[in-house]
């Protein structure tokens, strides 16, 4: 139960930011940040002389901001593309972290595996005690605080975020600094990654930021709706993923990501507005519509001419309009169904209705 609640809180915190990462085409920054915090974490532990939560948090935050600044700086040199800048900075940071662990922390429990996957299974063991009173798992407070901070940020700066996301140029003209919004967002992504990854691991943080928001992006065109959907899909993945993990006895983090992935692919296929199936049907509908219009116009053109009989033969349609025979069949079938044409001994004749529609088409 405590695992599920932690999972829900973290997924909501991540989804709130993820929406803007997706829209601002910076999804991979979250991947970079979540890996690059390793050396900061190690440095924090080093100075605190032990796995101290606060020192680790601070170090990780510094490392995250260093990463963001380095990527920006590299991009600004114009020598390196944005994606290459990311692809080179975060492995360097991660390698530095692994190096530091090997050099100074052989005996400290800081497993790079744990950094990657986290141990949400153990959240119930780190509890907050004040005096002797048990106030529940620490992760409640960390994840709850993250949710609150992120929610506060996007409510207070909603207008600025929206403007900077959809029209950075206008935002700059109006005097809102895109620079400020960018770094504020990156700082929050860092804080959220750091806060979340101790319980769920780097990969789950990335997944929860990107996947639910990407699914939501396929389902709606409205920003508030997208934020809500992303949070909802994230929370639902946490609940169902936990169930799945229990059922097959596997990693909770992995199961949550898998469920979120299933939501994404479902949205990709079945979304009523942007899904592949809806898109295929739209294209098919347009194909039939265009075919119908061509047929009506063709018949209308030759109505009353000498060659009308020839022009209105089924076979002729294939060669004149360059239609495959089965497509011609289909279009004529649809046209007959809608009462636009009639077949009289192998010839097509426009009905009154069909003639009227054909004439309307010719107006343009």
């Amino acid at each position: 139960m405590e695992i599920v609640i932690t999972g829900i809180l973290i997924s909501v915190a991540c989804a709130l930011l993820g929406t803007f990462l997706i829209l601002r085409k910076m999804a991979m920054m979250s991947d970079a940040i979540s890996h690059a915090i390793l050396p900061g974490l190690v440095a924090g532990y080093f100075f605190a002389k032990g796995p101290d939560l606060f020192a680790g948090f601070l170090g990780a935050l510094v490392a995250a901001l260093v990463t963001v600044t380095l990527v920006e700086a590299l991009k600004n040199t114009q020598r390196v593309g944005g994606e290459s800048a990311i692809g080179i900075v975060f492995p360097a940071m991660f390698a530095l972290g692994t190096f530091l662990v090997a050099r100074f922390f052989e005996n400290v429990h800081l497993d790079t595996d744990a950094v990657l996957f986290g141990n949400i299974e153990f959240v119930a063991f780190d509890r907050l005690f004040i005096g002797d009173v048990d106030f529940g798992p620490q992760s409640y407070y960390v994840a709850g605080a993250l949710c609150l901070i992120n929610l506060l940020f996007i409510t207070v700066f909603y207008k600025e975020l929206k403007l900077a996301t959809f029209d950075a140029g206008l935002a700059a003209t109006l005097g809102f600094s895109p620079f400020f919004i960018h770094y504020a967002l990156m700082a929050l992504v860092s804080v959220t990654s750091v806060g979340a990854f101790t319980s769920v691991g780097a990969v789950l943080v990335v997944a929860l930021m990107i996947v639910p928001a990407a699914a939501a992006y396929l389902l709606t065109d409205k920003l508030p709706m997208m934020i809500g959907l992303a949070a909802g899909i994230g929370a639902l993945s946490a609940v169902l993923g936990y169930g799945l993990a229990l059922a097959i006895d596997s990693s909770v983090a992995g199961a949550i990501v898998s469920v979120a992935g299933a939501f994404f692919f479902a949205a990709m296929l079945f979304s009523p507005s942007h899904g592949l199936i809806a898109k295929a049907r739209r294209i098919e509908r347009q194909r039939v519509q265009i075919g119908l219009e061509a047929l009506l116009v063709h018949l209308l053109n030759h109505e009353g001419e000498e060659g009308e009989a020839h022009e209105s033969e089924m076979l002729h349609l294939s060669s004149e309009l360059r239609w495959l025979p089965q497509f011609a069949q289909q279009i004529v079938g649809v046209a007959a169904n809608r009462g636009l044409v009639m077949q009289v001994n192998g010839h097509l004749i426009l009905t009154d209705n069909g003639r009227r529609q054909g004439q309307q088409l010719m107006v343009y």
Binding site: S30, T98, A207, H274
Partner: protein, 291 residues
């Protein structure tokens, strides 16, 4: 001098250095195309996407031979490529988000399978994660042989299709107008990157793989404006950092090889970015301060 003789005669060191060098050459060459095609993060996604393949290959065959696991990794990397292309081409999701989605979902599924194997099979699974997080110290001669065969194959394909790759890299529209199938060539190029990634998993691991593709190419780009030179130089830089990383990690006890390879590479990249003639950042600063 001692190190040099070790490099030739010491079994472990020779395998580590050879493995890292093969990886460096192959990823340097293929990374050049990836970077120029602005697909620098593709390697990162494909490396993560290999995990479920490794797990499924093990679940199906129960074998841990490098060839079987490499094959599993390659197949799931390839499936990830196709899924990625589909998402980018047919939905409104942008490439950046698509990379993130494929990366995290494949990896999440992989983690789920890995823990499943961990809990349900006997201790025999130990070592699966070596194929993911890279443990160069345990690279065997059999691993090196498999990597070399894969690497030579990939390089041969690049040699044969060099002209085609060059044209789809710089002007895909022109390539299409000449009648080259740029979509198919793109898939071939990406599949070769999958091969490079598969070689790299064993030595440097998932997280560091992206740097092995991007780093040598970015460094090489600084020194030349010609693709031929860039490709060769990137291969050289890759091999250099591989061998240097292996040597450093052995000379100093307890240093992991993968990270040392990446840190050596990072040094090469920094030097190239700063000091390369013409494109070096330092010359910019000098020019500005004079003006």
């Amino acid at each position: 001098m001692n190190l040099l003789t070790d490099l030739i005669f010491d079994y472990t060191l020779r395998n580590i250095a050879l493995g890292a060098a093969v990886l460096g050459i192959v990823s340097g060459v293929l990374g050049s195309f990836a970077v120029l095609r602005r697909q620098g993060l593709l390697g990162d996604t494909l490396a993560h996407a290999a995990l479920p393949g490794i797990c499924v290959a093990y679940l199906l065959t129960g074998s841990k031979s490098p060839l079987v696991l490499f094959l599993g990794a390659a197949i799931s990397g390839w499936v990830a490529t196709l899924v990625l292309l589909r998402i980018v081409r047919e939905t409104r999701i942008k490439e950046d988000s698509a990379l993130g989605v494929v990366l995290s979902v494949f990896f999440g599924v992989g983690i789920m399978l890995l823990t499943f194997i961990l809990k349900h099979n006997d201790a025999n699974q130990a070592g699966l994660d070596k194929f993911l997080f890279g443990q160069a110290a345990t690279v065997t001669a059999e691993d090196v042989n498999t990597m070399t065969i894969l690497g030579v194959f990939a390089l041969l394909v690049v040699a044969v299709l060099y002209k085609e790759f060059k044209i789809i890299t710089f002007d895909p529209n022109f390539a299409a107008s000449l009648g080259f199938n740029d979509r198919w060539l793109g898939v071939v190029l990406t599949s070769l990157i999958v091969v490079a990634v598969v070689i790299g998993l064993r030595t440097v691991g998932v997280v560091l793989m992206s740097a092995m593709l991007v780093g040598p190419a970015v460094a090489a780009r600084q020194w030349t404006n010609r693709l031929e030179a860039m490709v060769l130089l990137a291969g050289f830089f890759g091999a250099l950092s591989g061998v240097a990383g292996a040597l450093i990690s052995v000379s100093e006890a307890n240093l992991p090889t993968g990270p040392m390879v990446i840190l050596s590479l990072t040094v090469i990249v920094i030097i190239s970015l700063l000091f390369a003639p013409q494109r070096g950042i330092l010359w910019d600063i000098k020019r500005f301060s004079k003006a």
